[in-house]
C-alpha cells in the first residue's frame, strides 16, 4: 500500500521533469512528436547572449549572497544555539526566522520599499544617486539565505553535545580556540549545506528579484519567467536540463563524499 503510494508520488514528481529533459534533446518543436536527437536547443541557448548575461549575473548574485548568508547566518545560528539568554534574544530569533515564513511577495515588496526609502535618504542627505539592480537583489537574497543558514546551523548545534566545547575549554582552550578547533569543524558541513541552499534559492528566485531589481538587473529566472509567460520555448527545456544535470551532479558528488567518509569510518584507521 505505502510502497504503491511512494511509487505513484515519485512518478508524479519525476514524470514532468523526465518528459522535459527528453524533449530538450528533440530536434522538433512539437512535444508529442519526436523530431530526432539533437543538441540544437543547447546550441541556441549558448548562442543567446541575453540568456548568457542573465545566467552570469544570476551566478554572481547567488555566489555573493550565499557567502554573505553563510557568514551572517552562521553567526546568527551560533548565537541562537549557544549564547543562552541575552537581551533581545526573542526579537533576534523572530527576525532570523521571519524570512522563512514571509510570503515572497511580502518580502519582495517590503525590501523594495526599504531600498526606495534608502535611495531617497541617500540623495537627500548625501546627494548620492543610488540605483537598484544586482546589488539590491544580492542584499535581498542574502537576507533570505541568512534565515535558512541560521536554521541549519542552529539545529546542528542543538544536536551537538555541549560537553565537547566545555571539554575543550577544560583542556585549556580559550573561546576563540574552542571555536576554531571544535565548533567550526563540526558545523562546517552545515555551513556548506546552508551555503548551497542559499545559492539554490537565489538562483531560483523570481518574485523577490523582480520587486527589488532595477532596469539594469535581469536575472536568469526573471528572463525564464517572461519566456514562460509567452509560452514554453525549447531553450527553456534545455536550460532546465542543464540545471537538473548540475543538481544531480552536486547530489552525486555529495553522496560520494558521504559514502567515502562513512566507509573510512568502517574500515578502521582513518
Amino acid at each position: 500500500m505505502s510502497r504503491l503510494g511512494l511509487a505513484l508520488g515519485l512518478g508524479f514528481l519525476w514524470a514532468p521533469i523526465l518528459l522535459l529533459v527528453g524533449y530538450a534533446f528533440s530536434a522538433g518543436r512539437i512535444p508529442f512528436q519526436w523530431g530526432g536527437f539533437s543538441l540544437r536547443w543547447f546550441a541556441a541557448l549558448a548562442a543567446d547572449e541575453r540568456m548568457r548575461e542573465a545566467a552570469w549575473l544570476s551566478l554572481r548574485i547567488a555566489a555573493g549572497s550565499a557567502t554573505l548568508a553563510m557568514l551572517l547566518g552562521g553567526l546568527a545560528g551560533w548565537a541562537l544555539a549557544r549564547f543562552g539568554v541575552f537581551r533581545g534574544r526573542a526579537l533576534f530569533g523572530a527576525l532570523a526566522g521571519a524570512p522563512l515564513v514571509l510570503p515572497e511577495v511580502v518580502t519582495g515588496l517590503s525590501l523594495l520599499l526599504l531600498f526606495v526609502v534608502a535611495q531617497g535618504a541617500a540623495e537627500r542627505w548625501f546627494g548620492w544617486r543610488l540605483g537598484r539592480g544586482a546589488a539590491t537583489i544580492l542584499l535581498a537574497h542574502a537576507t533570505v539565505g541568512l534565515a535558512y543558514v541560521a536554521v541549519v546551523v542552529q539545529s546542528r548545534l542543538a544536536g551537538l553535545d555541549r560537553g565537547l566545547e566545555e571539554a575543550a575549554a577544560d583542556l585549556g582552550a580559550g573561546p576563540f580556540t574552542v571555536f576554531r578547533t571544535i565548533t567550526l569543524p563540526l558545523i562546517a558541513p552545515s555551513l556548506a549545506a546552508g551555503w548551497l541552499l542559499a545559492f539554490t534559492l537565489s538562483l531560483d528566485d523570481v518574485v523577490v528579484a523582480s520587486f527589488v531589481s532595477g532596469p539594469a538587473g535581469t536575472t536568469l529566472p526573471m528572463l525564464v519567467f517572461s519566456a514562460l509567460k509567452v509560452g514554453l520555448t525549447p531553450e527553456v527545456n534545455a536550460l532546465a536540463t542543464l540545471i537538473l544535470a548540475a543538481a544531480g551532479l552536486a547530489t552525486g558528488v555529495a553522496g560520494l563524499i558521504f559514502a567515502r567518509i562513512s566507509s573510512r569510518g568502517a574500515n578502521g584507521a582513518g
Binding site: L164, E166, A169, D170, L171, G172, A269, G270
Partner: protein, 348 residues
C-alpha cells in the same frame, strides 16, 4: 593544606536551590566520591569547580588559590565528562594531545606524552582511530587519559562508569583506582551508585538537597550513618523511631531495645538497623533486642535472601538472610533479633 576547599557554596537555578551553602574539602592525592540522587546538587558542584557555572555565593579554593573569576581554560584541573565528550572529528591521538597543544608544547614532547598516556591504558595501537570506531570501554579510557595527560593536581569525574555495562564497571573501577594511585592526583568522582562510591573512594560525601549530609570513609558512613537520610540512602537501612522508657531501655517497633544512648527517659530517638545485622531466632524471643513478626515477602538475591517482615505495630523491617539456610515460607511467624552494637542512634 587542603587540595580543594569549598566554602559556603550556593547556586540557584530559577526557583530551585541546587547548592545550599555547601562546604567540602579534598586532601592532596585523595579519592573523594560525591554520592547523591538526581537533584542533590552533585553535578552542579562539579560544574562550579570546573568553572562552567558561577556560584551565587561562597568560595572555591584550589591549592589555596581562589578560583573566582577564572574561566575554565585557566583552571588547573581536569574533567572527565559524563558522555566522555570525545571530539568526533579528531583521532584518539589528537583528542589526547588537545590539551597539550593548548600549552604550545614542542611536538616531540606532545607525541611522547600522548604515547605514554595511551600506553598507560593499553590503547597505543588505537591512536589513529576516531572515537566512533572505539568500544564503550575504550572511549572511557580515552576520555580519562585526555583529562589526565596534562597532569592536573585535581581530576573531576562526572559519572565515569555510568555509560559502561555492568561487567565492565568493576574492572574499570579497579583501573581507575590504580591510575589515581599512579598519578597521585586528587580525584572527585560524582556518582549516584553507592556501591561504586563505597568501593572506589577514600572518603564519600553524601549530598542531600545541596548540602553535604555526611562525609567520611566508606566504612564509617556505612556503619555509623549520621542521619535518617544517610542510613536509608546507603544500603537501605531500617530506621526505627523510638522513645526512652523509665528504665533507660528504648521502646521501638513493639519491642524493648537495649543500647547506650545517653538520653534521659522520655526522650525520642531514631535508630538505624542494617538488614544484614538482623538474625532469625528460634524459640521464644529474649526480653531485649528482639521482636516478633510475620514474614510477608521473600526475594532471592543470589548471595542470600531479602525478607520483608511486618511487626505487630505495623513497622516493616528489611531483613537480609544468608543463602545457606532455606528461609521459612511467606506467612510464617518469625522472631528477629540483633546485637546491641547493631543499633546506631541517628542525629537527624
Amino acid at each position: 593544606m587542603a587540595l580543594l576547599r569549598v566554602e559556603g557554596l550556593s547556586k540557584r537555578f530559577g526557583p530551585t536551590l541546587a547548592l545550599d551553602g555547601l562546604d567540602l574539602e579534598v586532601r592532596p592525592g585523595e579519592f573523594l566520591a560525591l554520592l547523591g540522587g538526581s537533584g542533590s546538587g552533585k553535578s552542579t558542584l562539579l560544574r562550579l569547580v570546573a568553572g562552567f557555572e558561577a556560584p551565587d555565593s561562597g568560595r572555591i579554593l584550589l591549592q589555596g588559590r581562589d578560583l573566582a573569576g577564572l574561566p575554565p581554560p585557566a583552571r588547573p584541573l581536569g574533567m572527565m565528562f559524563q558522555n566522555y565528550a570525545l571530539f568526533p572529528h579528531l583521532s584518539v591521538f589528537d583528542n589526547v594531545a588537545y590539551g597539550l597543544r593548548r600549552e604550545a608544547r614542542p611536538r616531540a614532547e606532545i607525541a611522547r606524552r600522548v604515547a605514554e598516556a595511551l600506553a598507560m591504558v593499553g590503547l597505543e595501537a588505537l591512536a589513529a582511530r576516531r572515537p566512533h570506531q572505539l568500544s564503550g570501554g575504550q572511549r572511557q579510557r580515552v576520555a580519562l587519559v585526555r583529562a589526565l595527560v596534562k597532569r592536573p593536581p585535581l581530576l573531576l569525574l562526572d559519572e565515569p562508569l555510568g555509560a559502561l555495562d555492568a561487567g565492565l564497571r568493576e574492572r574499570t573501577g579497579f583501573e581507575l583506582r590504580a591510575l589515581q594511585r599512579a598519578t597521585g592526583a586528587g580525584f572527585i568522582l560524582v556518582t549516584h551508585d553507592q556501591a561504586e562510591a563505597l568501593a572506589l573512594a577514600d572518603r564519600v560525601a553524601v549530598l542531600d538537597r545541596g548540602r553535604v549530609a555526611q562525609c567520611g570513609p566508606p566504612a564509617e558512613l556505612y556503619e555509623r550513618p549520621a542521619s535518617r537520610f544517610v542510613a536509608r540512602f546507603l544500603g537501605a537501612a531500617n530506621v526505627l523511631e523510638g522513645r526512652v522508657a523509665a528504665d533507660g531501655a528504648v521502646e521501638a517497633a513493639g519491642g524493648r531495645l537495649a543500647l547506650d544512648h545517653g538520653l534521659a527517659p522520655g526522650g525520642a530517638l531514631a535508630l538505624a538497623l542494617r538488614p544484614e545485622r538482623i538474625r532469625l531466632l528460634a524459640g521464644p524471643p529474649p526480653a531485649v533486642n528482639a521482636v516478633a513478626g510475620t514474614l510477608r515477602e521473600l526475594a532471592y538475591r543470589g548471595d542470600g535472601w531479602i525478607a520483608l517482615v511486618a511487626l505487630a505495630d505495623g513497622t516493616e523491617l528489611r531483613v537480609a538472610l544468608p543463602a545457606a539456610a532455606a528461609p521459612p515460607p511467606p506467612g510464617s511467624a518469625v522472631t528477629l533479633g540483633w546485637d546491641a552494637a547493631a543499633l546506631v542512634p541517628l542525629a537527624g
